[in-house]
Amino acid sequence: MREITTPLDRETILSLHAGEHVLLSGVIYTARDAAHLRMMDCIRQGQELPFQLSGQVIYYAGPSPTPPGAVVGSIGPTTSMRMDAMTPALLERGLAGMIGKGGRSEEVCRCMQENPSVYFVAVGGAAALGAQCVKHLEVIAWDDLGPESVKKLEVEKLPLIVAVDAYGADAFQEGQNAYLRQRGEMKK
């Protein structure tokens, strides 16, 4: 399986295609609903964001608490569409990738073409396995948000699927259509 590392450069982004399976390594940042709202406040007020967006990847995730002796609790993706309205502002400022589950709005997909970037999905609910890919965790902002704080993660070979690529192709539509076509043929 193809392996990629963060930060994502333009060449890597443009070489990824919807439906492709990859293993991602390097530093990524968790941010979900509440952290996105605060990032929008930062942007409105001209303040710095907790991390530089350029080339970086955001994981829409709020892990469960870390038990003694572990690096992280269980961790998997949350539903991405709740972040849709706040995503273009981040893509326009250099965000290169997002990890979540479920589909994205047309506006996000269009913005991903204008600002070449990739939307990956991790398998939702496979969070006990997800934890095994996290090698380091550090809360870097908004600790008061608990599970929703911004965390810097170092991941190794995190299994992902390219769900929407920088060309606007969508693995959900393509996957479902391919399956239905095959089934149609099988019935004949």
């Binding site: 469960s64 608490p65 269980s74 998997g76 398998v123 599970p147 959900f172 259509n177 399956y179």
Partner: protein, 280 residues
Amino acid sequence: MVRELDACQIEETVRELCIRACRELPCDIEQRMKEAAGEEDWDSARSILELLLENARVAREHAVPICQDTGMAVVFCEIGQDVHISGSFEEAVLRGVRRGYTEGYLRKSVVADPLRRKNTGDNTPPVIHLRLVPGDRVRLTVAPKGAGSENMSRMTMLTPAQGMEGVRQFVMETVRLAGANPCPPMILGIGIGGNFERAPEMAKEALLDPLDTWNPDPFYAELEKEWLRQINETGIGPQGLGGRTTCLGLHIHQEATHIACLPVAVNVGCHVTRHATAVL
């Protein structure tokens, strides 16, 4: 004869059930997922189902949550009318949830207020459903529900004339709108009848039914089978990436309703529709 039950026992049991529910996938779901993996004719879908089975195994063996979203705790309580509980029942349930989520390293996903949204820090309060039943036992079920699937649930008031076909269309529309979001393969609980508040309650209760059973009324059992078949023809598949396995199970709970009413609620559950039960 009234049986005395100390509220501490309720607290201990709720604590244990919270932890167990979040770490151990119910056997019937695991079994159904194994069967679905065997029946799945699309390779990528089968590999996702196998990954989910592996995840459930790792969670059980390492005693960690199956999914990071350990949900809001929903506690169903059936209280025998011949039981007297010494101490505050509600406080005991609350303390049990607090201890379960804290001591079990489960995620604290509850905010105190829907608009001001400050995390309570201990996953309380839970949602408590109480029922008085004959006998001197107390039956407690903890069913933590994540928001990815709960957010995809829907409710409507149909007209009697819309009938069975109206209900079917609403169910199919709910599945289509949910798509990849609720972590399919999903499990559906459908409440039909009652009134505006009862239908969603029945839908949630229906999620607790074992996947290897059907509605005891053959008329509704037929609907369950037919709708399940239709949902598994949509092609949504595991995680919405295509495949046969869109829904692992579907249960209907139905109840008497008003001559002018046809309330319908569909509670969408994910592939980790957790619940654990104990009888005291």
